[in-house]
């Protein structure tokens, strides 16, 4: 028996700029990512994508391909193992001959090496029965329909008051349509998996944002008890939503490993990242705002059109932020979808808020111009004291503080309201502002805290660190709850052998996992106290589940807020546009780790610069897929495009949202950025761009 003390610390670990625990391993290359686990007798799988956009696979030249030396098996719908689902959805890999979109997986080659698999996959000939397809989203499409709900479970439409009447009688009205193109999440590390079967036990090394949900889904698909599946995801090189749910490749890896009876590796190529791992839907958004003479909003309508596939429904919640953002008695939001012959869209950093707030915050800027009010003043006049839909009080709402502090730091008072008023040589210079928001939610999670006889602690849960610094933040949270130095805490995550935990998504990671970690550590601390600090050789453990606590607590609208300020420079002759400065101030609760939080925020804002100026997946109307499927053609900001990005936050602690008082910071950084830049572009040039990206031809027209 050893005595363990837990009360030696006075300075909290939360709030300290602790560097990433696994940083040195990553720098040295010793952190193991999914594709890198060394296994004997591993085989390689290469997926084959359809070259038609709609129809059926008639036949393949699999027999000929099997003769190629080194090829172990060719899988297609004709011989693939049957899964527990055959509904044609994305994960029903090779379960039918139907082709729902171009580049959908229709076959796969398993071979002794990556090169052989790739080459054989390229040589596989496939005959199709081709059917006509539709891939283009159009606002007047007669086949638009109303989904039952929008992601993840919000009502599709909302309506209060008399929007049309209020618009008719408003002193000022803006009514415009905004468009965003499709975007493809491209984390540095593409999706990758290694599947290993031992009898009916399946182990998968997988790159994902949540190993627990991957395990649950694999167990279901392969008809196994959950306990027979283990998913290991210790290090993950980003996800941005694309790895939030299992993708076809992990199913394919498990299937292929079953068939060849060897471990099988699969890695998605960069080109395939543009095909079957999700993307953000394009949107067409009509926003109508009515205001009285004093700039008080009387009517808000936000009507959204977006796409889904023919095989699954994903309805991005694009207008949901409009429901809580500004006051106004008459309000309406709607979402309409079109099922197209395209891959199913999915989550990408701030689904809903990101495209939706581009439209809303652009429209608010247009209303500021119509009402001749400063855009900050207009927002303050319409900052609702309570949730405008339900009247419920917000847990905290510090949009005003963000706007005011941002204005001060940015030097907003220097601004000319008139467009084209500032110049620097041939450059037109303009500034713009937009608000940011993102919900502060938490999901139930389990966590286990161990005291060890040597005075150290193990805190274990199947959380995901996708590069965000979650491991470090949770260590800090655990240290404070235990009253121990962070270096005495080992944080284990990314393995389904640990306590089940929700995925990294919806900016809920730190909230959900941190909550469970806090409770487990508090529980352990109490047990240690009861045992007078003595720890048996086997250690002392407490496992908790926050399900009851989270379900029991009162529901209140909880959101993080922010304000982003942009200064852009536009070359008057060429229309070249550069963001000279971007500054954000956020109210995101208590900041657990200022270093990793700042990198989340400036990372989101940088992604927002790309969204504003560069990013767009180009639809090939003739072939039906996305054309610019590599990072030479799909442009994102380079360092030279991001000269100065600053993220600040105001002092906020929201004890309602979770025991740490922290809201999430993973997504809010990309919300509003594109609008701030579009608004600044208008201020610089007098040209309003309502369809992203803002490219030079839109400015020199």
């Amino acid at each position: 028996m050893t005595r363990t003390t837990t009360t030696t610390r006075t300075t909290p670990a939360i709030g300290a700029a602790m560097t990433r625990i696994e940083g040195p391993d990553k720098v040295r290359g010793s952190a193991t990512y999914a594709y890198e686990y060394p296994l004997d007798a591993v085989a390689y799988c290469c997926a084959v994508g359809s070259t038609i956009a709609h129809g059926r696979v008639r036949s393949t030249s699999a027999d000929a391909i099997r003769q190629i030396p080194g090829v172990l098996e060719v899988l297609s719908h004709a011989n693939a193992p049957r899964l527990a689902i055959s509904d044609g959805s994305e994960l029903a890999v090779l379960q039918s001959d139907r082709v729902a979109y171009r580049r959908q997986i229709v076959a796969a080659v398993v071979a002794e090496s990556f090169e052989i698999a790739t080459e054989a996959a390229g040589a596989l000939e496939i005959e199709y029965d081709v059917e006509p397809f539709a891939v283009e989203l159009k606002s007047d499409d007669p086949d638009l329909y109303r989904p039952d709900k929008v992601n993840p479970g919000f009502p599709t439409d909302t309506e209060a008051g008399d929007v049309d009447g209020a618009l008719r009688s408003a002193a000022h009205v803006v009514d415009h349509t905004y468009r965003t193109p499709a975007y493809h999440n491209n984390p540095m590390e593409p999706h990758a998996s290694i599947a290993v079967w031992e009898g009916d036990d399946l182990t998968v090394f997988d790159s994902n944002q949540g190993a627990s949900p991957v395990r649950a889904r694999l167990a279901e698909l392969f008809g196994l008890p959950t306990g027979s599946v283990r998913v290991v995801s210790e290090h993950v090189g980003g996800g941005f939503g694309a790895k939030g749910l299992p993708r076809p490749v992990v199913v394919l890896a498990a299937m292929a490993a079953r068939v060849v009876d060897r471990p099988v590796k699969i890695a998605v190529t960069r080109e395939q990242m543009f095909a079957f791992v999700g993307y953000r839907t394009p949107t067409i958004q009509r926003v109508q705002l009515g205001a009285d003479a004093g700039g008080r909003i009387t009517a808000i309508a936000h009507d959204v059109i977006e796409q889904t596939s023919t095989i699954e429904e994903f309805a991005e919640q694009t207008a949901v932020a409009t429901r809580m953002m500004y006051a106004g008695a008459s309000r309406r939001t709607t979402h309409r979808l079109r099922r197209l012959d395209v891959p199913t869209p999915g989550w990408m950093r701030a689904p809903g808020e990101c495209p939706g707030m581009f439209a809303l915050e652009s429209a608010v800027d247009e209303l500021a111009i119509a009402t001749r009010l400063d855009p900050i003043e207009l927002r303050l006049r319409n900052d609702p004291p309570t949730d405008p839909e339900t009247g419920a009080p917000f847990t905290s709402r510090n949009l005003e503080a963000c706007l005011r502090e941002g204005a001060r730091l940015f030097g907003w008072s220097q601004r000319h309201a008139e467009p084209r008023a500032r110049r620097d040589g041939r450059w037109l210079v303009g500034t713009g502002v937009a608000a940011s928001t993102y919900p502060a939610r938490a999901r139930a999670s389990k966590a286990t805290a161990w005291a060890r006889p040597d005075g150290s602690f193990d805190v274990e849960l199947c959380a995901a660190d996708i590069g965000t610094g979650a491991r470090t933040a949770l260590t800090q949270i655990a240290a404070d709850a235990l009253g121990a130095e962070p270096r005495r805490v080992r944080l284990g995550l990314g393995d389904t052998n640990f306590s089940e935990a929700p995925l990294a998504g919806g900016s809920m990671g730190t909230s959900s996992w941190g909550w469970a970690v806090t409770r487990a550590c508090e529980g352990l601390r109490a047990r240690l106290a009861a045992a007078n600090g003595s720890v048996p050789v086997a250690g002392l453990a407490v496992e908790v589940d926050t399900k009851d606590e989270i379900e029991r607590r009162a529901q209140r609208p909880a959101h993080a807020f922010g304000a982003q300020f942009a200064e852009v420079r536009v070359d008057e002759d060429t229309g070249e546009i550069r963001v000279a400065r971007l500054l954000g101030v956020f109210a995101a609760g208590r900041i657990v780790n200022p270093m990793t939080a700042r990198s989340q925020l400036i990372g989101g804002m940088t992604m927002g610069i790309s969204m504003a100026l560069l990013e767009a997946s180009l639809l090939d109307r003739e072939y039906g897929d996305y054309l610019n499927h590599d990072l030479a053609q799909y442009e994102i900001a380079t360092c030279a495009d991001v000269p100065m990005v600053e993220a600040h936050w105001i002092d906020e602690r929201d004890d309602f949202v979770n025991p740490m008082g922290a809201k999430g910071v993973g997504e809010i950084g990309i919300v509003g950025t594109a609008a701030a830049i579009a608004n600044a572009t208008y201020n610089a040039t007098g040209v309003r761009v309502r369809d992203l990206p803002i490219r030079l031809e839109k400015l020199i027209g």
Partner: protein
Amino acid sequence: MRRFEYLRPLDRARAVDLAANPEVKLLGGGTNLIDLMKIGVETPEILVDTTRLGLDEIESRVDGSLRIGASVRNTDVASDRRVRARFPVLSAAVLAGASGQLRNMATVGGNLLQRTRCAYFQDVTKACNKRKPGSGCPAQTGANRELAILGGSEHCIATHPSDMAVALRALDASVLVETEKGAQTIPLADFYRLPGDRPDIETNLPYGALIVAIDVPAPVDGARSSYMKVRDRASFGFALASVAGVLRVADGRVAHVALALGGVAPLPWRARIAEAHLMGAPADPDHFHAAIDAELQAAQPRPENAFKVTLARRMVVRVLTELVGRGEVGVAPS
């Protein structure tokens, strides 16, 4: 697995010998060729590395010209003292291209022969007359924002992506090549071909030719030169349009002018019509406008790239105006 042989000859004669084999592709820095092999656009049986042939010198010749070896790296061209002093347009053009890492690998010979970035050309599952003659040109009605407004045909409207070649075109450079039959000098003016009905044939290089060097003639006395490039992002992007300008003004009139346009045509486009308008004319923006308007009369913009006409016009006027007035013109602003 698709196997290929890799050979690294150490002398030119051997390389030229090897190049006579139709299965051979010559390899420079590999920054374009290897990428195209990975996506199945190029499928050589044998790669012959040209970087150990002693073609990596820049030589100053008595007539004031420079001879740049074919395997000199792009970075070394741009940073060469003589290039920077005598041909600033060339240095600026090279630096405006690609990224630092790529320029460290890329060679002068490879840069001249890099292939178009047209999206259809890079996707073997789609039609493309350049890649597969007779299969069609989906770019005509599809994604053509980046493609040509001058010199295209109904069979192909690809643009040549090089920045360096645009500067060389304005400098009246020529290309030294060697084949089994001997050495030959091809003026850059005759080096590239317009697509016509054979977009797959991009140059007039003789069969099996090894590029040995590029000759850049002595600079015109008293002339200034500059390069301007416009792209979507601040760095690491291909030109939507670029202009290489060389200008000498005497007594307020144009005494010498050379103008080449990039990003707007299947080859680095020498604006001969504009030059003819400009020679002897007053060196002022009105005349610059009139001259480039005359050149762009022949433009055939496609639905997505009509902006290039406006853009090229404004860029030419700016480059010339700044050459007259304030000397140096920057590359792309940042």
